[in-house]
Amino acid sequence: MKYFYYSGCSLEGTALEYDISTRAVMQALGVELIELDDWTCCGASAAEAVSELLSMVLPARNLALAARMDQDCDFVIPCSACYLNLRKVDEHLDRDEGLREKINAVLQEEELSYKGGIKSRHLLDVLATDIGAEMIKAKVNRKLSGLRIAPYYGCQALRPYGGYDDPEEPRCMEPLIEALGAEVHPWPMGAKCCGAGLMTTKKEIALELTGELLKAAKGADCIATVCPMCQMNLDSYQKKVSQVKGEDLRISVLYLPQLIGMAFGLNAEALKLDLNMAYTDSLRTKLKN
């Protein structure tokens, strides 16, 4: 198995541990990740707020880079926003011939072109569908027994482009969590919104949404995430949210690959657990035992 790997900007910065743990876990699973040296930002949510065409061109440029490499494989993308943007290109190309021409006219600036056809897949999709719980279970050598994990999917990993799971009631993370020897914290919030970029622009709303999530996660030892934006909203504002909600809502929030890595027996350094903002002592203790 091999994939083009698009880490995206966040994974070079605030979500470094997501990047490193993803690579570590993929390596452990024998999955080859093909890097694109010249990749650029997908436009995040900013491009679409400014220019429709730009919001297509920025991700298309990366697809074009991959297309140039002439390898028969899909993209795997850990960041949900990047995933959405890359995938959007193909979804639109199929429907809109005019757009295809425009995009290519712009890409021509860099002597690139993209005709479509490279599948952009979310890391979660690849883990759940291609690799699967069986294969993961086979690599587990340090079961996360007694751990109760709340699977958090967020929005853009599921919507509007899903296909690999129910966009309202996603379940695909559950067999993976169980494969690690952990227990699934049943909650109805897996697909709810964390507030995303509103944390920057409309903080009070984002805090409200995050608060609801953290409240529902009570009883779990840890929330598993698959998106740097979700991770940041969930782990970095816990103090503030606790103040707003008037209760202690602190809880560990880890990237799913970090949890998988732990069960694979990878050490904390390999998974950059030290970079996590919310990796509570109680979880640490629990894991030690």
Binding site: C9, S10, E12, G13, T14, L16, W39, T40, C41, G43, A44, S45, A46, A47, E48, A49, V50, S51, E52, L53, L54, S55, V57, L58, R61, K102, A105, V106, L107, Q108, E109, E110, C155, Q156, R159, P160, P167, E168, K192, C193, G195, A196, G197, L198, T200, T201, K202, K203, E204, I205, A206, E208, L209, S236, Y237, K239, D274, L275, M277
Partner: protein, 188 residues
């Protein structure tokens, strides 16, 4: 903020964009599913359904006086659930674009987007710390950075952001692409 990015957003023919949005949501039957699905609806002055109605009835001024579209977190629930299959989140983005173009977008949001894209244009990728710094400068607000200080400090302590600004590429990495986009959009 660079002039180039600003021009980029002004390159649109505003009416075309508004017409496109109206076209998008023409088939709306006012069922209210979007509003019911929206996590931010409670904080909006007009609900999404009301806003689509206003689009239908051409109440442009009221739309851009409202803060409704700026509260969208792009969770795509409304798009997913709209029984008519209308591209609602996309249409919200359209309204955001229009607001930026009209210069009526709430300062905070619009500036953020433009700053962000400016970074992308220059460096190809985004470094959050640099972005923040540029954003605060663009907002010309001495107070705003303070509300992010705790996070910044935390991040810095974790070594996730460094005060230095490593250069991935030469500055002006995506100038060509941005220029071309602007050119094409002006034409349409």
């Amino acid at each position: 903020m660079s002039e180039e990015t600003r021009e980029l957003s002004e390159g649109h023919a505003e009416e075309d964009l508004m017409a496109a949005i109206r076209e998008n949501i023409k088939a709306c039957m006012q069922c209210g599913t979007c509003t019911g699905s929206c996590g931010s609806a409670y904080a909006m002055d007009f609900t999404p359904r009301q806003m689509w109605r206003m689009v239908q009835l051409g109440m442009v001024d009221e739309i851009f006086n409202s803060r409704t579209f700026s509260l969208c977190s792009s969770c795509y629930y409304c798009t997913l659930r709209c029984p008519r299959g209308l591209p609602l989140t996309e249409s919200i983005h359209g309204l955001k674009q229009l607001a930026v173009a009209k210069g009526v977008a709430e300062k905070k949001g619009a500036r953020f987007y433009q700053t962000f894209l400016d970074t992308v244009r220059r460096y190809g990728r985004v470094r959050e710390m640099e972005l923040m710094a540029r954003y605060f400068i663009a907002m010309k607000s001495p107070v705003l950075p303070l509300s992010f200080t705790p996070l910044g400090m935390k991040l810095m302590m974790k070594g996730k952001v460094s005060p230095e600004m490593p250069q991935f590429f030469r500055p002006g990495k995506l100038d060509g692409i941005f220029r071309k986009v602007k050119e094409l959009e002006a034409r349409s």
